[in-house]
């Protein structure tokens, strides 16, 4: 069988995460919607808006103003009034390290996405990253004051492993986002009036 490249895993990971988030919202009777795409953010947001007839001003405005950003997977979560963005950075490496986490942090900062997952396919984390995540919790919980508008933006990050044999996501136990269920709790809390 031909060796798969990283991109070939995007659809299954995207579907899995979308299903988990939707299930958790359904179980908590939370009417949040989840839209997922792979690829470039600005174009993907435009497609989501067009395909789903979204007129929510905050989403439309964000889609217009966000810079082009090549992402692996992203999810737009909305209650019809407000929205949140989740960025998923997928790697196919023996171990992911600070370089890969830094890439995710960069994407989150540029897009103001408050949630980010670093997912390594069939691989784990480097010992250095494990040390860092264990001893420096702030690395995956970044609070940033925007220069314009004095708005505080949080970036909550998690590190997980995708096992393509089992088709399951394993949690590393490191980082601010410990699990998909915890991610959903965080998201739900954001939309709670």
């Amino acid at each position: 069988m031909a060796k798969r490249n990283e991109v070939s895993y995007y659809p299954e990971i995207m579907d899995f995460i979308k299903n988990q988030i939707e299930s958790n919202f359904k179980a908590s009777k939370n009417p949040l919607k989840v839209y997922c795409k792979t690829g470039e953010l600005k174009k993907g947001l435009a497609e989501i808006i067009s395909e789903n007839g979204i007129t929510t001003p905050s989403i439309v405005s964000f889609a217009n103003s966000t810079p082009p950003l090549s992402l692996d997977i992203f999810a737009l979560i909305t209650d019809g009034i407000d929205y949140e963005l989740l960025i998923v950075e997928v790697k196919l490496l023996e171990n992911v390290g600070l370089a890969q986490l830094s890439q995710l942090i960069g994407y989150c900062i540029v897009s103001n996405a408050q949630y980010g997952l670093l997912i390594n396919v069939n691989g784990g984390e480097s010992p250095r990253l494990v040390d860092l995540l264990s001893n420096e919790p702030d690395v995956t919980y970044i609070r940033r004051m925007l220069a314009y508008g004095s708005r505080l933006v949080e970036h909550n990050l998690g590190v997980m492993e995708w096992d393509s044999d089992v088709q399951n996501l394993y949690y590393s136990g490191y980082g601010r986002i410990q699990s998909i269920s915890k991610l959903c709790e965080m998201l739900a809390a954001k939309f709670t009036p």
């Binding site: 299930s23 359904k26 179980a27 089992v166 399951n168 949690y171 136990g173 410990q178 269920s181």
Partner: protein, 469 residues
């Protein structure tokens, strides 16, 4: 509040959870004694350990703040340490009692409504499958061509088995079969066999299970792939409603049909097929029309006596002495040659009737002692003499054993002690004996009734001497 990770954890706990008196720990037993034996299969044992660390530990930590460790001796178990208040509260809210062996009395009727979509249901099933879903090589239907995952559910949790089966059904994962822990099903021939409590088995073909696709443990996912790779074809599961029921013989009324631990729907009933138990439990998917057709002629498929019971001559004598109807019989001894019985079968005869001093073979099955069972009894007696028994089972092929016996001694014979009424006869060499029960459709029909509130619970009243005269 339910979520995808809790659904998986609760699946693990329902499958293997064991709560004792300790307030700060509980364990999840993994019945991997053979499959995950550390000395016989260290590679797999390592994978299981890795699965516990990767799949269980982080979710236990994030959902309930529990620390996870594991033990491999005397059996595999996941040990969860910490404050159990939250998990016990959750379990109780879903009607699950945190007991010493949860699955023995599990009832998931309150849990299922909380699994609001297929994904949550799958996560729960994954937890159950990771604990009690056996994919040991013995879990096959006849050959490697039909690999199975078998949910092994000890005890008398009939309701849980049925609920789990229906949950799988709702996901489009059609179970292959349920083997119920009920005496007629575990010991259809032998009315006196007491070792019938072998657990319920809910069996699903790996093809069906993999299509619907959930396992949390990589060791299980790998085993599933390996087993499926041995198949030369894909097995398509059939809806229970459409399944054809075939009955191969008669089930004997068993001494434990009234076992106190059997559920009300089953206790005191007589069952001729596993699907009849599904129906008596009210499963919406049971093949009711086929059952109706079979039960309309149930007298063909039941016996108030043992069909076959094998044992030492003294043990068989005590059974007869303990039963007033059997004790009161007059037994006449016949010396039957094995060759004449084999020849009768070859000539299409199915039963034998004894009449004072003679006997005759018949082609019908309505009345008389079934020759096929007689041959089983004879094989047992011959094998006991020649040391070819495994317990009470004939080692190797029964027909080969009979053929060998006839080759060594063409006039090989056995003593048959037949009663004057149609109650069980005895095949014996005075050391080993086998009781063979008769067929007697017209009389047996009179013994059958059905519980008014549950027409699939068939009842057989005890047979009397008056019935037989």
């Amino acid at each position: 509040m339910m979520n995808t990770d809790k659904a998986y954890i609760i699946g693990l706990v329902v499958g293997g959870g064991s709560f004792g008196s300790a307030r700060d720990s509980f364990s999840i037993k993994l019945p991997y004694k053979q499959w995950g034996d550390v000395s016989k299969n260290p590679g797999r044992a390592g994978e299981i350990a890795n699965d516990i660390v990767r799949a269980v530990s982080p979710v236990m930590k994030s959902e309930y703040g529990l620390t996870v460790t594991f033990e491999t001796k005397p059996e595999w178990r996941i040990v969860c340490l910490g404050d159990l208040t939250a998990i016990i509260t959750d379990l109780k809210s879903y009607g699950i009692n945190p007991s010493v062996e949860i699955r023995k009395n599990a009832d998931i009727s309150k849990l299922v409504p909380a699994l609001v979509d297929d994904n949550l249901k799958r996560r729960f099933v994954a937890g159950v499958a990771d604990t009690i879903g056996s994919m040991a090589p013995s879990q096959r239907r006849f050959s490697d061509d039909v690999s199975i995952i078998s949910f092994e559910i000890n005890g008398f949790a009939f309701k849980f088995v049925s609920q789990l089966c229906n949950l799988l059904y709702s996901l489009g994962c059609l179970p292959d079969q349920i083997l119920w822990q009920q005496p007629n099903m575990q010991s259809g021939n032998d009315a006196y066999y007491t070792q019938w409590k072998k657990g319920n088995k809910l069996r699903v073909t790996l093809d069906a299970f993999s299509k619907f696709g959930v396992l949390g443990f990589k060791s299980k996912a790998v085993a599933s792939k390996e087993n499926r790779a041995k198949q030369s074809k894909t097995n398509i599961a059939e809806r229970c409603e459409n399944k054809t029921i075939t009955l191969n013989g008669v089930t004997a009324v068993h001494i434990d049909e009234n076992h106190r631990e059997l559920p009300d729907e089953i206790r005191g009933g007589h069952f001729i097929h596993h699907k009849q138990i599904c129906a008596a439990l009210g499963c919406p998917h049971a093949p009711y029309s086929q059952l109706d057709r079979l039960l309309a002629y149930a007298e063909r498929y039941i016996s108030p006596f043992t069909v076959l019971h094998k044992g030492e001559a003294t043990e068989v004598s005590s059974i007869i002495l303990a039963d007033p109807l059997l004790r009161a019989r007059t037994y006449t001894k016949y010396n039957m040659t094995v060759a004449e019985i084999v020849r009768a079968i070859e000539n299409g005869k199915e039963t034998v009737i004894f009449n004072g001093s003679s006997y005759s073979f018949s082609e019908g099955r309505k009345r008389g002692y079934p020759l096929n069972i007689m041959i089983d009894a004879i094989a047992f007696v011959i094998a006991s003499k020649t040391g070819k028994l495994n317990g009470k089972r004939v080692r190797g092929s029964r027909d080969e054993l009979i053929a060998d016996a006839l080759k060594n001694n063409p006039s090989e014979s056995v003593i048959v002690e037949a009663p004057e009424l149609l109650t069980p006869l005895i095949v014996t060499d005075n050391k080993a004996s086998a009781m063979v029960g008769p067929l007697n459709e017209t009389v047996y029909k009179k013994l059958i009734s059905f519980e008014p509130a549950n027409k699939y619970k068939m009842k057989i009243r005890p047979i009397t001497e008056a019935d037989l005269r």
